[in-house]
Amino acid sequence: MDKVITALALAVILTGCTSTPPLYYYGDYNNAVYSYFKGGEVTVQEQIQALETTIEKAAARQQHIAPGVHAQLGMLYFETGNADRGTAELSREKQLFPESAQYIDFLLTTRQGGTS
């Protein structure tokens, strides 16, 4: 009986309140998206730089990059006319998150990655 109670207590301690670490690294992603929507206050070039830095930091911390970061970056590259980098970033999103495949393929085939 004592052993059961002790085991239970240990189980509670070990599993009860553990705060799980975040699944992804977001860095400036939310800020970049917000500023993209608001427009004007932060240049596209600055948004690109912020997302590139976010991706570098995720790698340095060995954390997974959040879904959407590569896709947002790809769209910004398309907006600056850099279709090669735009395509590469959209493809990276698809590679990391196969759930996005149908949408990314739609974007790449209809060339709607940016303002085109």
């Binding site: 939310n30 998206v33 917000y34 929507f37 996005s100 709607q112």
Partner: protein, 224 residues
């Protein structure tokens, strides 16, 4: 020995009550049957005079969904796709047939958000920033609603609590200098409101999705 046993039992009771959420849960059978892996956040309908409210809510809603284990479609790109197809009004977008959304995005489910309240009001002397959201999640295969909820977050609720929650939410989102002029209190409170509304950590929120280590853990534990 008996005292020790009592102590241990009391400790277990304490530990359980400390961890358990006090909220009631909801009938999640429709959600579990649908079992979505990917979620498309549609531009929110804005019932407030604040034109930036949908931007703020859309930008913050992805995080609690991703952290709950779902693939979240890139909100900036999704918004742009609708614009490229002549859809600029949230009401029109939320009226697009689910089959069409499924065809373009290949998403399992779509999140329909309505912003009921957003922004700062001055109540006699102190100001309050409040965000109130309602939302429903719809299975894009059959158009069935599989979850719905509402949540409010306010800067005026126990200030220490809000700040603690915000610190938790923003801990990895330390604002870079370039964005200092862009972010605002409403944006911060939106992070809290969307997390409260959607996070699977919340009993009223979604259930965990396939990308979370918590996915289906609840049933596994109950099954023992």
């Amino acid at each position: 020995m008996n005292r020790l046993k009592q102590g241990v039992v009391m400790f277990i009771a304490f530990a359980l009550s400390a961890c358990a959420s006090q909220q009631a849960t909801y009938d999640d059978s429709a959600f579990k049957q649908s079992d979505p892996a990917s979620i498309l956040i549609l531009p929110p309908v804005n019932n407030t005079p604040e034109i930036i409210a949908p931007y703020s809510v859309m930008a913050q809603a992805a995080t609690p969904l991703a952290e709950s284990g779902f693939y979240v479609f890139p909100v900036g790109l999704v918004d742009q796709t609708f614009k490229n197809n002549g859809l600029t009004v949230a009401q029109d977008i939320q009226a697009v047939p689910v089959a069409k959304l499924q065809e373009i995005f290949g998403a399992d489910a779509a999140l329909y958000i309505t912003i009921e309240r957003y922004g700062t009001s001055y109540v006699v002397v102190s100001s309050e920033t409040r965000v109130t959201l309602s939302a429903s999640l719809v299975d894009l295969q059959n158009g069935q609603q599989i979850w719905q909820g509402t949540a409010t977050a306010s800067s005026a609720e126990n200030q220490a609590n809000v700040n603690n929650s915000l610190v938790g939410l923003l801990i990895q989102a330390a604002v870079s200098q370039v964005f200092e002029t862009v972010t605002d209190r409403g944006f911060d409170i939106s992070a809290l409101a969307t997390s409260r509304l959607l996070s699977a950590k919340n009993k009223q929120g979604l259930r965990y999705g396939p990308r979370s280590p918590e996915y289906r853990q609840e049933e596994a534990q109950h099954g023992q």
